[in-house]
Symmetry: C2
Subunit: 595 residues, 2 copies
């Protein structure tokens, strides 16, 4: 039966080819608006295909969907059925707002943007002083670089403004010039965090240094593969770097377009951008082949701070504006990790401090005694709710907290927004796994035991979490194995880092937990599983999307770019893949300590 992946809630549903998408969505209790019982007349159950194929649009859809929405690819869920083994769809304006993901408790610091406006008044030319327009403009601004496009409009603007003009400067480059009659142009900037699955854009007022709005879309590269490795393979095998680059830029532009409409901003007024991401995303956003990242010695094509013009990248902002890419650290440790280290001010801590950014790749950094060392663990997406049978993202209907009694019974099921449970998100998965180990239903080796709540499912044993009105929610032996591999990798990572810098766990002063996953997590359960070092609660800070904050710091303070570049050159990389200690430690951390 075809599998349908539903955005933005992150749920995977089986939907038969004979069924409509609406049938599947309603069966899983997805909160999609519909007023006509699937007859195709109310026009409300709008969905859009991300990847995969659906049946062709019906007459009713052509009639009911406004032309603008149709042009954007929207369909009616009640009229469409899957036509490929995997389909990903987006449900329109429903299913609750995604929670967290984009926010952080860290602060981005003071504003000192790369782009500023300056008002200048020039002496008009006279017979005694017939110097060129460019010469007097350049002198008034104290020596600048005037691109041809600006130079072309300079003579008219100077005269229109009676020799009083406002110049928009990106460093020493003039990117715009206005007559003083006009209002001083507003200056906006965008900080971009390119995740493997998500592209987040933060829109800033650069003059005030304040966040105005933010938006996230699925990374359009998802259509080329769900993880980094499959996208690198795509680029290598099909020579598709250009297509992958186009896809990620399309994602940034999609966010920008929503922000422009919502805030009533003209793209020309967005004059600066910073972009962070893992090294493969960094390369692809630049149009650089990521092929070198797919094989030893994993040398990146570029790992320097780069500032390009927006027009070179086809981004929908001021074409002469700058786009700054902080440097990645290594082939598997991107500029997002650098951004996390910068945002947590890790390198400046007096006592040993650690930052952990849990994701498909989990980056862990440890600072001690002037050294900063970082490592990357291939933890897989299990803790994000992916590749877990009933996993989903942290949105309405997801089980986010659950307790298992000593006897193995489920109590205290807590769902996001108090909705009927439709799946389990990351924090719920951690609760379940820890609870099942405590109850002895999962043994120390990770094997699921016989128990009244454990039954034989299609793929082996499974624990029945709840028999909801919309179908059973289970936690399977396979789910346990996925999570074991993930936690084993993460546990080995922080343990080897501590070992490398000679820091004992109890010496750790601060542990920053970055990433979407952290905020609603039961710390005891996570520490029991070995996801984080066992330090006292007061020393752990959940900081949300710290990578985004790092991108924001670089956006609103141009000096932070140089600081991050210097920081990057100081950071040491611990390569677990070649570390002789790794396999031993990893094997030892796959099991559970028990209680």
């Amino acid at each position: 039966m075809p599998k349908v992946f539903v955005e933005p809630i992150g749920l995977t549903l089986p939907v038969d080819e004979q069924e409509t998408l609406l049938d599947g969505l309603l069966r899983a209790a997805v909160d999609i608006p519909t007023d006509c019982a699937g007859r195709g007349t109310c026009g409300k159950c709008l969905v859009r295909v991300g990847s995969g194929e659906l049946t062709a649009p019906t007459e009713r859809e052509l009639k009911r969907i406004p032309e603008k929405l149709r042009a954007e690819g929207w369909r009616l869920a009640c009229q469409a059925s899957p036509r490929s083994a995997r389909v990903s769809i987006e449900v329109r304006g429903t299913a609750g707002q995604r929670r967290i993901l984009t926010t952080s408790r860290l602060h981005h610091g003071p504003a000192h943007p790369a782009v500023v406006t300056r008002m200048v008044e020039l002496q008009p030319p006279s017979l005694a002083d017939a110097r060129s327009d460019l010469a007097r403009f350049d002198e008034a601004l104290g020596g600048v670089n005037v691109p041809l496009k600006v130079l072309m409009c300079l003579p008219k603007t100077l005269r229109d403004g009676r020799w009083r003009v406002i110049a928009t400067l990106y460093g020493k480059r003039v990117i715009d010039v206005h007559a003083v009659d006009h209002h001083a142009p507003e200056l906006f900037g965008a900080a971009v965090d390119i995740g493997t699955s998500k592209v987040i854009v933060y829109l800033f007022d650069l003059t005030r240094g304040s966040l105005i709005d933010q938006e996230a879309v699925e990374n359009p590269q998802m259509r080329y593969g769900e993880d980094v490795i499959s996208r690198i393979a795509q680029a290598a095998q099909h020579n598709d770097t250009a297509a992958l680059a186009l896809a990620v830029r399309e994602g940034i532009n999609a966010d920008l377009s929503v922000l422009y409409e919502r805030q009533g901003i003209h793209p020309n007024h967005v004059c600066d951008m910073t972009v962070v991401g893992n090294t493969a995303m960094h390369h692809l956003a630049l149009g650089l082949s990521p092929v070198g990242l797919g094989q030893a010695p994993f040398a990146p094509a570029a790992a320097e701070p780069l500032t390009l013009r927006a027009s070179e990248l086809g981004l929908d902002m001021n074409p002469d504006g700058g786009v700054h890419f902080p440097p990645p650290i290594a082939g598997f440790v991107g500029s997002d990790a650098l951004a996390v280290i910068a945002a947590t001010r890790l390198a400046g801590k007096k006592r040993p401090s650690m930052a952990i950014d849990i994701g498909t790749n989990t980056e862990i950094a440890l600072a001690h005694d002037g050294r900063v060392t970082v490592t990357s663990c291939a933890s897989g997406p299990a803790f994000e709710g992916y590749q877990i049978r009933n996993g989903m993202k942290a949105v309405a209907g997801a089980i986010e907290r659950v307790r298992i009694t000593r006897h193995g019974n489920v109590t205290d099921v807590q769902t996001i927004a108090g909705a009927e449970p439709i799946g389990i998100c990351g924090s719920g998965v951690v609760d379940l796994l820890a609870g099942l180990v405590h109850a002895g239903i999962v043994d120390r080796s990770g094997r699921m035991q016989e128990h009244p709540h454990v039954r034989q499912g299609e793929e082996g044993r499974e624990y029945l979490v709840t028999a909801g009105p919309h179908g059973d929610i289970v936690f399977t032996q396979h789910d346990v194995r996925s999570l074991q591999l993930a936690k084993g990798a993460i546990h080995s990572g922080w343990e080897l880092l501590l070992d490398t810098l000679g820091v004992a766990v109890e010496e750790l002063d601060r542990v920053f937990i970055a990433g979407a996953f952290g905020n609603y997590l039961d710390l005891d359960a996570a520490q029991f599983l070995g996801l984080f070092p066992p330090v006292t609660k007061g020393r752990v800070a959940f900081v949300g999307n710290a990578a985004g904050v790092g991108a924001q710091m670089a956006l609103i303070d141009v000096r932070a770019r140089r600081r991050m570049a210097r920081l990057r050159d100081r950071i040491e990389f611990l390569d677990l893949a070649t570390d002789k200690r790794f396999l031993d430690v990893f094997a030892g951390r796959l099991g559970f300590a028990g209680d």
Copy 2:
């Protein structure tokens, strides 16, 4: 009756709307191939319209003209008639090669181009040294600027070349990179001299610093007006800067395209260009509005040395190659004048030296005692054969030398290539005017006297030069007046320059005569008319297109660009328009000294 201006011979013909172009061309003895007596079957009498309108193409033309030529706009002269009051046409492959114009006796100096190739060998990455491709490439080249387009192909090229590559560098910017398996790329450059009427391109082998070929086309801006002022007016009134910019770039590209085909060169291998011209041409080539040049205080939009990327200007060469514009000196003294001063090495002369570049604007520079002063005279195009009744350019059939006896008879008529006379070129005009004054047929005030060879023409008195088989060639009272204004302006120019720097005529050590016009001129006649200071023959050097040589110097030696920029800042500008002495001197120099 419509007037047809014939390129490349520069002749203006009346052609009735009932006639074909071929009728008019044959009547004027223009040497155009035709084998079928105008029946439209031989397909040889090819012409192309520059401006104005012809009748629509006939069936025969569609049949006889090869598709490629048709696409380029070629027509058969025997099938087309004028349909507008003025038409300019180009005759294909005929009428003799244009003489001089593009050559010079000056040498451009040693090669030290802005663009070079460098072979580098890099250490491949290893687990111990996983620095980025960019980092090791940059290190090998000692610190360079790698544009995104080059960075995008760097990883593959490095691996294809097994870490041995050839980089093409424009200063510190890498514009291309090749694997060493390939041949080292050839490097070419183009020096461009944009005249008001002509765009000349010199193609150079940059590695050897040697001239390979050259080509000239009519400046496509001719369709917007024949002189600079009418083009400035066009830009001002119709906001047509963009169209004028496009036209001149089209002219450069037309030259390049001929050179590419003739020399079998790929546009990507032309990596550098220098462009000189008067200030209006300089502005329009850059797409800058020339409007400020049309009114006091004549401030240019830009008078700094500028180096752009070819892609910014839409020139048909390597898009990342550079296009350098040496600076103009003032609103009416362009970078072509700077190029002449540089090419004649005027500023380095120990004794007082002068350079005169005769054209529609005549620039005169005087160097003495460490000072270089330049002025510009609005001399009009009369000495180039324009606006003279039977004037034409120095091509086959033009009367280039002629003697008038004491009694006013014509002797020793000498035509270029010994062809039947069809018009008079610049040197012939000077001979005629000086001869007529000597014979007393033109008096000291410039009035034409009664004489057996003087008759009453349509526009007043005219002197019959020769009654050739293809119509009378005459020299009119109006021609005399045009030439008086021109020589008065030029004479005033050099005289006031000498006065300004306190140099007596006899102190002048060298007088360089630049421009197409000089080479075949009778020096005595020209000096008699006051075109040049009366110094002994040995001190006068006819140097041809010195502006082109200046552009070549800047092309093949990047250091010459800085020298020219410094030279420009030293040059003083004598503005005749605001000089109190001018009107007095000009009035005194309109007449003839007599003999």
